[in-house]
């Protein structure tokens, strides 16, 4: 014998009945009928406002990169940030060579994102508005939005790894600066010999 319903055909009782819940929670049961919900049935035709069988094609201002799983460039597409530089070359190669089913496709795109960030940061140094890691990371919010009080004594699971974030942002720059210092010192030493 057991008093645990789970090991019998019975289901454990809920703390409150439907009537109690209906009285306590506004709207309880308003969508009770599973067949009368907006997402049911999953596939369901309705008037969309489209007045075309196939949409008119948006002009392509540059050869638009596309998944090779598509038959053609879709009739409408975004035009933000055309591919450029080394990151653009990696992206175009990834789209041209690998389908979405291949890990290489996505890993190349992630690699291109890192290259893009480096290219863009370097490019910004020859503009009137170079990247500013303090303002762009929003670090000032640590002071204006109670950075310490929001974490101290809260037993938050994310505090354990938040220390990695500055490393992700600044680490490559520190490493690059270190490498540059080592290289310059080596050159200076060689010049003195």
């Amino acid at each position: 014998m057991t008093d645990l319903p789970t090991y019998t055909a019975r289901k454990p009782a809920n703390p409150e009945t439907s009537e109690q819940l209906r009285a306590r929670i506004p709207g309880w049961g308003a969508d009770l009928d599973p067949k009368d919900r907006p997402a049911v049935p999953r596939e369901h035709a309705e008037e969309t406002g489209a007045h075309w069988e196939f949409p008119e094609r948006q002009p392509e201002k540059w050869p638009r990169e596309r998944s090779i799983e598509h038959a053609f460039v879709t009739p409408v597409f975004g035009t933000s940030c055309p591919p450029k530089g080394l990151s653009g070359a990696i992206r175009k190669f990834s789209y041209r060579r690998y389908s979405e089913g291949r890990a290489a496709h996505w890993l190349l795109l992630v690699a291109a994102d890192r290259v893009d960030a480096w290219e863009s940061h370097l490019r910004s140094f020859v503009t009137a508005r170079p990247d500013n890691p303090v303002t762009e990371t929003g670090l000032l919010a640590e002071f204006t939005r109670h950075g310490i009080a929001s974490r101290r004594g809260r037993r938050r699971a994310d505090v354990v790894h938040q220390g990695l974030d500055p490393l992700i942002v600044a680490g490559p720059w520190v490493a690059a600066a270190g490498a540059a210092v080592v290289a310059v010192r080596a050159l200076v030493r060689r010049g003195r010999r």
Partner: protein
């Protein structure tokens, strides 16, 4: 115009950009009056989503006023106040013809696996988003709707994604009267999913998170029973104990790619980008739901593989349901629920930030400072 611009992982700033032009006869240009930062924007912000390009403007939750329309637009005119679903969709392809608006085949040349989304990397089509003064809205006759006169703008902006997604997530759980529903994540989508579960007749709604202030909101806003997973050695065992060792009937993953609770999973995905997402909440859902139960995945994951416990899902005979939300399908019923007083979406808004300070808003939301649950962005306030 002023627009938020991505500058690389953890870095954004406001720049001067050209007002977007009409690029297709059914485009509209919308002057944004209110936008929001979504939890899934943080995946872009942290550099987790493949093909997120420096220079892109994020933002898929926004409302505004029609500024200009293309030559074939029939349903909107300049001056109309509109709410814009986060899905970009044509309304006429195989998928749209079946109501699967989030899976449209005519708007995203970069991928077939996902539809078009505003300001959400080139993997979702390469469209700039609405955290800006102006935004291009394709298929203006299909996606946007005029904001009803009675509706507050704060509620309207939350209907463009977060509320619709939480409500859709509860529906994918196939909840029947008396079901025990566990929601992982007490962010905006989790809060709305928990609240929506009651509308569908749940008998018990449990919310799990590690941020105490969000769990407090889950108790107050969503009438939920809450547990902080940090306080338990094994949250799955605890979940079994409080459900008579049965497990929940329905589990909803409202966390997605950057879940906490297992350092190795989190670091390999959110920090090192070696997984498409950290499937901690999804694995807890798989282990915490009862055999034969249903899991609804609303949390966003990237396209790279993730270490999901699929064997347990198979052996337990689970039903896994998921999709990006076809937002506009949810609106008529959600409008009713708001009018009836069953849902008050803007109760979860914690911050309103001028566009000019969006870098601080991203950091605050990302680092979970100042009790932040839902930050709204006000372009005109700068």
């Amino acid at each position: 115009m002023r627009a938020m611009v991505y500058r690389g992982p953890y870095k954004v700033r406001v720049e001067e950009k050209d007002v977007p032009p009409i690029e297709h006869p059914n485009d509209a240009i919308v002057k944004v009056s209110l936008a929001a930062i979504c939890g899934s924007d943080l995946h872009l912000y942290h550099g987790l989503m493949p093909d997120t390009r420096v220079g892109m403007t994020f933002g898929h939750e926004f409302v505004g006023t029609v500024h200009e329309v293309g030559s074939s637009v029939r349903n909107l005119r300049p001056g109309d106040r509109v709410m814009v679903p986060f899905n970009i969709y044509c309304g006429s392809c195989f998928f749209c013809a079946r109501g699967l608006y989030s899976n449209c085949h005519n708007v995203n040349p970069n991928a077939t696996a996902v539809g078009g989304i505003y300001g959400y990397s080139h993997t979702t089509g390469g469209y700039d988003g609405g955290q800006a003064e102006y935004v291009r809205v394709p298929f203006a006759d299909v996606g946007p709707a005029k904001i009803p006169d009675w509706m507050a703008e704060d509620d309207a902006v939350l209907l463009t994604d977060a509320l619709a997604t939480g409500y859709f997530g509860a529906q994918l759980g196939d909840i029947v009267e008396g079901d025990v529903v566990v929601v992982f994540g007490a962010g905006p989508v989790g809060l709305y999913a928990a609240k929506s579960a009651w509308l569908m007749g749940a008998g018990r709604v449990i919310v799990i998170d590690h941020l105490e202030y969000r769990l407090a909101k889950a108790r107050e806003f969503a009438h939920a029973e809450t547990y902080n997973f940090v306080e338990y050695d094994d949250i799955v065992v605890h979940l079994k104990k409080i459900t008579g060792h049965l497990g929940a009937d329905v589990a909803i993953d409202a966390v997605g790619a950057e879940a906490d609770g297992n350092l190795l999973q989190h670091v390999t995905s959110a920090k090192l980008k070696l997984q498409g997402g950290s499937p901690i909440a999804l694995n807890w859902a798989i282990d915490g739901v009862r055999k034969g139960g249903t899991i609804s995945v609303m949390g966003a994951y990237g396209p790279i593989f993730s270490a999901v416990k699929f064997g347990d899902a198979m052996n337990k005979g689970l039903t896994l349901r998921m999709n990006q939300t076809p937002v506009k399908r949810q609106w008529p019923r959600l409008f009713e629920h708001i009018r009836n007083g069953y849902l008050a979406p803007s109760d979860i808004v914690t911050h309103r930030v001028p566009l000019e300070h969006i870098a601080e808003a991203y950091h605050m939301f990302s680092a979970k400072l100042d009790g932040c649950i839902k930050p709204l962005i006000v372009p005109a306030a700068g």
